[in-house]
């Protein structure tokens, strides 16, 4: 059975690019438009990996990571951050929040798949 990845981004074009890439490699993709939507969907789907943006309305990516880490199901699940932000300060915040890795946009599909395979197989 294909593993499910939750792709969280307020940009529809990025969600489309992420879905296109991951579905092409055989993964199921659930999309969410912001942190709150993602939190909702994470509770209702068996998600193997969360791939989230940082700057989003309502709930940002770092708050989403913190909120997911509180849930038993997502205590150790891989959560990757995919963002335009690349400062060391932001990365440190992501790490402290519980993120598994940090990917800077624009992403390269091949590299994204390598990382995804590395964290969920």
């Amino acid at each position: 059975m294909a593993k499910t990845i939750l792709a969280v981004d307020d940009s529809a074009s990025i969600r489309q690019m992420v879905s296109f890439t991951l579905k092409g490699a055989g993964y199921d993709v659930v999309e969410a438009v912001d942190g709150e939507d993602a939190l909702d969907k994470a509770k209702n789907h068996n998600v193997s990996l969360v791939l989230t943006d940082v700057n989003m309305p309502r709930m940002d990516g770092l708050d989403l990571v913190k909120s997911l880490r509180v849930l038993p199901r997502y205590k150790i699940a891989p959560i990757l951050v995919l963002t335009t932000e690349s400062s060391e300060v932001m990365k440190a915040e992501g790490r402290a929040a519980g993120a598994t890795g940090w990917l800077v946009k624009p992403f390269d599909p091949k590299r994204l798949l390598e990382v995804v395979k590395k964290v969920i197989g």
Binding site: D9, S11, A12, S13, I14, M17, F20, T21, N55, T84, E85, S86, S87, K91, G94, R95, A99, T100, G101, W102, L103, V104, K105, P106, F107, D108, P109, K110, R111, V115, K118, V119
Partner: protein, 251 residues
């Protein structure tokens, strides 16, 4: 002030139209054209603001004690220099962000055009190989290029097409980067406008009935507005100047 407002309105309207564009699946040339309109509007606004800030006649200047032979006291002149320098920095920041957005769009469009041209060329090669395979099969073995070699070439071309599609996916992310950048620029422009309006209102209330329109107070007001606008717009979310793939770090 009317010119200033018109310029800002063009800029903000242009930016808002652009922000809707790429997310709604708009074609690249159209989105690019809208971005150009937005940038042009914003640059007009900035030019007008800079010009007015520097050359605004200063009624009441003659009321102040004279200094440096200009009719303006040294403290007022220092304030004016400081204010102009603050405005220069502020607008240079906005100009830099708009130029960055322009570069990102140009880079992405250039890459996409190159990718699509190359993909077209590869597809034509694929079709030629398919025809050659069909001809070889019809003519029987021994004539022309061996079928095994043709199939090998076809596999190589398929891999090249995949690489180009990946490159196009990377370039197509420009919409998100530019939207974030322009959103930040819009916040900066609006923040300055709001701060200037607030200070203008406060001054009008304080001066009710007075004719004195002191240049030092105007420059102090603008300076406060720039400081407030800087505080209102948080750090720039996009540092990328091109569409090269970003780095990856696993913790």
């Amino acid at each position: 002030m009317l010119l200033l407002c018109a310029g800002l309105a063009i800029a903000v309207a242009g930016v808002q139209v652009q922000l809707i564009g790429p997310e709604a699946g708009m074609t690249v040339p159209l989105a690019s054209a809208l971005i150009s309109i937005a940038l042009a509007g914003a640059l007009i606004a900035l030019g007008v603001m800079r010009s007015r800030a520097k050359h605004e006649p200063v009624p009441g200047a003659g009321d102040a004690p004279t200094g440096h032979g200009t009719g303006v006291d040294p403290a007022s002149q220092d304030m004016m220099v400081f204010c102009n320098s603050q405005l220069d920095d502020y607008f240079a920041g906005i100009h830099g962000e708009l130029s960055q957005a322009d570069r990102l769009v140009g880079d992405a469009v250039g890459d996409l055009v190159a990718s699509f041209k190359y993909i077209g060329k590869l597809i034509r090669s694929q079709q030629e190989i398919s025809r050659a395979i069909a001809q070889a099969a019809a003519a029987g073995s021994g004539s022309g290029e061996p079928a095994g070699r043709l199939l090998e070439r076809q596999t190589v071309i398929a891999g090249q097409i995949e690489q180009e599609v990946d490159a196009a996916v990377t370039s197509l992310q420009f919409g998100d980067l530019v939207a974030q950048l322009l959103n930040h620029t819009m916040i900066r422009v609006e923040a300055l406008g709001t701060a200037l309006q607030r200070i203008d209102r406060q001054d009008a209330e304080q001066e009710s009935g007075e004719l004195a329109w002191k240049p030092r107070r105007i420059h102090e007001g603008i300076s406060r507005a720039v400081t407030a606008a800087n505080a209102a717009s948080r750090g720039k979310p996009v540092v990328q100047h091109g569409m090269q793939r970003g780095e990856v770090e696993l913790f």
